[in-house]
């Protein structure tokens, strides 16, 4: 293959209100290569793709297509398609109700001399195309009769048949099983050998090393670098994605924490949820802080939600305080003394239009039942107690939560759970988007809770933070719990397990 540059993005800048999403990012794609675009969530992968396909309008920068470096700027995905850039998303963008052949050709069907659709010619061309790409489907059947994997392949076939030079695959493998992934890779390699340039966006490290030729890494909207796959072993890739910004905070964990009670509070065996989290075992002792670590999307939140019943576990058994229980819904978990602080504070945590008091009382009230209203006096008492205890900065108890800062909103949700006096708390990214001062406060609070004999699952993207607060770390990768770390907790050792593959 000639390996000439077919796409070149130079100095792309893009700001969302208040956030610099991309700053001065370069990206180069050559023909006949599969190029991975890597980075954690929020690193700017999707934004960069959207700038390329015309969904987002970037502020500064240039895009050139083809060996002749023709400058282009797309304003819609259609325009991008005309320029030879096609995108296949995780959720297939085809019409499930139409036949495979129609999905391949709609909008550009072969016509008869009367201007009507020539179904016969369309079917024949569709069959040829499917045969060429080695996809085994009956083109007359409705698309919805086929698996997501096949649908994705059909979407790719459509893009290829429209003479796309650049094919963007945005998280195509998220809902596929190993077999299907292999088939997709086979197709990708075949297309690469024909000279198509493929941009592969994924968070599965293993898949990157299985199929890609080159990697570009983004972090916080900035280009970290472009690497040949052979020059960037896993560990370095993970380091590049996460960055190594150690903050200067000292360990807040004193040595005596290491002695954790023998009493097992939670004992999960083989819990799983289809496509979200593979079966895992996990036991949590009384007064223990256990950290779940792994890259974003590795199944950290999913594992926690599975225990809590936010996503009902489909297999396995769960023992709480030695008694086997079944959690069908979060309320069951709450009655057993659990609480969950979800990672999406805005969508799942606070209720924006309720006051601080009402937000704090939510969990207590739902435990008490809808009918038994908690007396206002008691409500005020509890609210004031937690405002003082957690130092929530709010003008009054009746201020609407949406008027508070992110950190104080987070404290309100923590107060909501503490008010129920739980034995076990799951904190999913409690410090995300919060200033450093509040971060430390929350970390201290977690350690304090453990001292009081409560157990905590702590999830965070910042390894440093986890090292400071947790007694033990469970590591997840690609929706599977791959290991536990109790001793020798260091950034290096944790990242090694997160990266995987290079087992000693």
């Amino acid at each position: 293959m000639s390996n000439e540059v077919i796409l070149s993005m130079r100095g792309i800048c893009m700001t969302f209100p208040g956030v610099k999403a991309l700053s001065n990012v370069d990206f180069t794609l050559r023909s006949g290569e599969i190029h991975a675009l890597m980075g954690e969530n929020g690193a700017g992968k999707s934004t960069l793709i959207k700038c390329l396909t015309g969904v987002n309008d970037f502020e500064k920068g240039e895009i050139f297509m083809g060996p002749e470096m023709r400058p282009i700027r797309n304003h819609s995905t259609l325009e991008a398609q005309k320029n030879g850039i096609a995108t296949v998303y995780q959720e297939v963008n085809l019409c499930p109700n139409l036949s495979v052949a129609e999905n391949l050709f709609i909008g550009r069907e072969p016509l008869t001399k009367f201007g009507t659709i020539n179904h016969k010619a369309m079917l024949n061309r569709a069959r040829e195309l499917m045969k060429k790409l080695d996809i085994q489907v009956d083109v007359t059947q409705a698309l919805e009769n086929y698996s997501i994997a096949l649908q994705q392949m059909i979407a790719i076939a459509r893009a290829v048949d429209m003479e796309s030079k650049v094919l963007i695959l945005d998280e195509p493998t998220s809902s596929l099983d190993d077999n299907e992934v292999e088939k997709l890779f086979k197709m990708m390699r075949a297309l690469r050998d024909e000279g198509i340039g493929i941009i592969f966006v994924t968070h599965f490290l293993e898949q990157v090393y299985a199929v890609c030729d080159r990697i570009t890494v983004l972090r916080n909207g900035q280009l970290v670098g472009e690497y040949e796959i052979s020059d960037l072993p896993r560990l370095k890739l993970v380091a590049a994605m996460m960055g190594k910004d150690f903050d200067d905070l000292q360990s807040i964990k004193s040595k005596e924490d290491e002695a954790v009670s023998e009493e097992v509070l939670i004992d999960a065996k083989g819990l799983s949820h289809v496509r979200k989290i593979k079966p895992f075992d996990l036991d949590i002792h009384k007064g223990e802080v256990i950290g779940l670590t792994g890259l974003l999307g590795s199944g950290r939140s999913e594992l926690a939600r599975c225990i809590y019943g936010a996503d009902k576990a489909q297999t396995g058994t769960l023992k709480v305080k030695g008694k086997e229980t079944k959690i069908n819904a979060p309320i069951d978990a709450m009655r057993l003394g659990m609480g969950l602080l979800p990672d999406d504070r805005k969508a799942e945590g606070i209720v924006e239009d309720l006051s601080v008091r009402e937000n704090i009382m939510l969990a207590m009230q739902s435990l008490a039942g809808v009918v038994k209203r908690i007396p206002m006096e008691k409500q005020m008492e509890i609210t004031k107690k937690f405002i003082d205890l957690l130092d929530i900065k709010t003008p009054s108890t009746e201020t609407l939560v949406k008027q508070l800062s992110g950190g104080n909103q987070q404290k309100v949700i923590i107060a909501r759970w503490l008010a129920t006096n739980p034995d076990f708390l799951i904190l999913d990214e409690p410090t995300r988007g919060i200033d450093v001062g509040t971060k430390t406060e929350i970390q201290k609070l977690v350690v304090d809770l453990a001292h009081q004999g409560k157990s905590v699952i702590f999830i965070s993207s910042e390894i440093e933070e986890m090292l400071r607060t947790c007694n033990r770390l469970a590591v997840l990768r690609d929706g599977e719990k791959v290991g536990e770390l109790t001793e020798d907790l260091s950034q290096e050792s944790v990242m090694k397990v997160i990266a995987g593959g290079e087992r000693s």
Partner: protein
């Protein structure tokens, strides 16, 4: 021949199965009527071919309207303005001919034009401004019904003799005197239909071909299947939607002309609830309210089913004597049973696979 059959069997997908079930149940329903009101001592005329053709005659307008409704529902929308539009069309035709003495040669094209403009406005609001179809066509419904009353609040009967009336009176006899019977007075009666029926059948065929063989038709399916995907695949979804609503109102206006030919009058309460009959016919015929699935042939059968149920009720002497809304209740009950059977058969079929 046998190979051909095999292929056909393979091609039947889950969507056409619903249609097959519907056709099968329709035949059953008609057979039931035949044994109740058309057999031996009970013979009341249900067995006659003329009775079957009468279902077409009374529902010619509904067939046209249901075709338009099917297209709209395929795109995932709904058009509840059709009943009122029919009333307005009838009123314009009646008042125009009877009170103003305008020739139907002018009036009929005028009414059809109104349909196109009416649909274009609704289609623009829905397609380009993205307003909910239900809200837009509800406004259209109130507007058309209000206009009908503004034109005239009394019932206007068409008595003037012109081609409109003459065409309405033409009987088209069955070829080869098919199904002819000799009545008590010894006169041979050949079953017949009228011009509206012929027009309605032509509409069904044309819309069927449009949906299957034109890009616009396929775009309607695509928009209903997944609008966002359709747009990403390069289809002009906004224009498709607008065209669909224009088509619906245009077909509805054809239906209005046919309706007027049948009733020969215009009143403010005419065609009340016709939109719901059109929707139910389409749904019975296998069109999904969520869009993307269905075809006009199914809706056509749906109209026939609705018509047969009404016919069955009217053959029951006791029900007719009770009068009032009792027959409506019975029709509703039969419709309910029908839909339930349909669902049960579809479920059984699913389980088998």
């Amino acid at each position: 021949m046998e190979k051909n059959n095999m292929n056909k069997k393979k091609n039947i997908n889950s969507h056409s199965i619903l249609l097959l079930i519907t056709v099968g149940l329709f035949i059953l329903l008609y057979a039931a009527g035949y044994f109740m009101y058309g057999f031996g001592a009970n013979a009341k005329g249900f067995e006659k071919l003329q009775n079957f053709l009468d279902i077409f005659r009374t529902n010619a307008a509904l067939i046209c309207i249901a075709c338009g409704m099917t297209c709209v529902m395929l795109t995932g929308g709904i058009d509840i303005s059709v009943g009122s539009l029919v009333a307005m069309d009838c009123m314009i035709l009646s008042v125009g001919m009877e009170n103003s003495g305008i020739s139907p040669t002018l009036l009929v094209p005028f009414v059809l034009l109104i349909g196109i403009v009416f649909g274009a406005v609704q289609g623009y609001l829905i397609g380009y401004l993205g307003i909910q179809p239900f809200i837009v066509t509800m406004a259209g419904m109130f507007f058309a019904r209000g206009m009908t009353a503004m034109i005239c609040t009394d019932q206007v009967n068409i008595t003037v003799d012109n081609w409109f009336k003459q065409v309405a009176g033409i009987k088209v006899y069955m070829p080869f005197e098919l199904g002819a019977v000799v009545n008590k007075r010894g006169v041979k009666m050949v079953p017949y239909v009228n011009i509206p029926v012929i027009i309605a059948l032509v509409v069904v065929v044309l819309v069927f071909l449009m949906l299957r063989y034109t890009r616009t038709g396929r775009s309607m399916y695509a928009v209903g299947g997944n609008q966002q995907s359709a747009a990403l695949m390069g289809l002009n979804t906004k224009r498709t939607k607008m065209i669909t609503y224009i088509l619906s109102s245009f077909l509805c206006s054809i239906g209005g002309v046919l309706y007027c030919m049948n009733t020969m009058c215009g009143t403010t309460t005419q065609a009340l609830g016709l939109e719901m009959k059109a929707i139910s016919s389409a749904v019975i015929g296998g069109t999904l309210l969520t869009g993307g699935v269905g075809n006009v042939f199914g809706s056509f059968v749906g109209v026939l089913i609705n018509g047969t149920i009404n016919s069955l009720v009217s053959f029951n002497g006791e029900l007719t004597r009770l009068g009032g809304t009792v027959p409506n209740v019975v029709s509703a009950f039969l419709l309910f049973v029908f839909i339930m059977l349909q669902a049960v058969f579809a479920k059984l079929r699913e389980r088998k696979q």
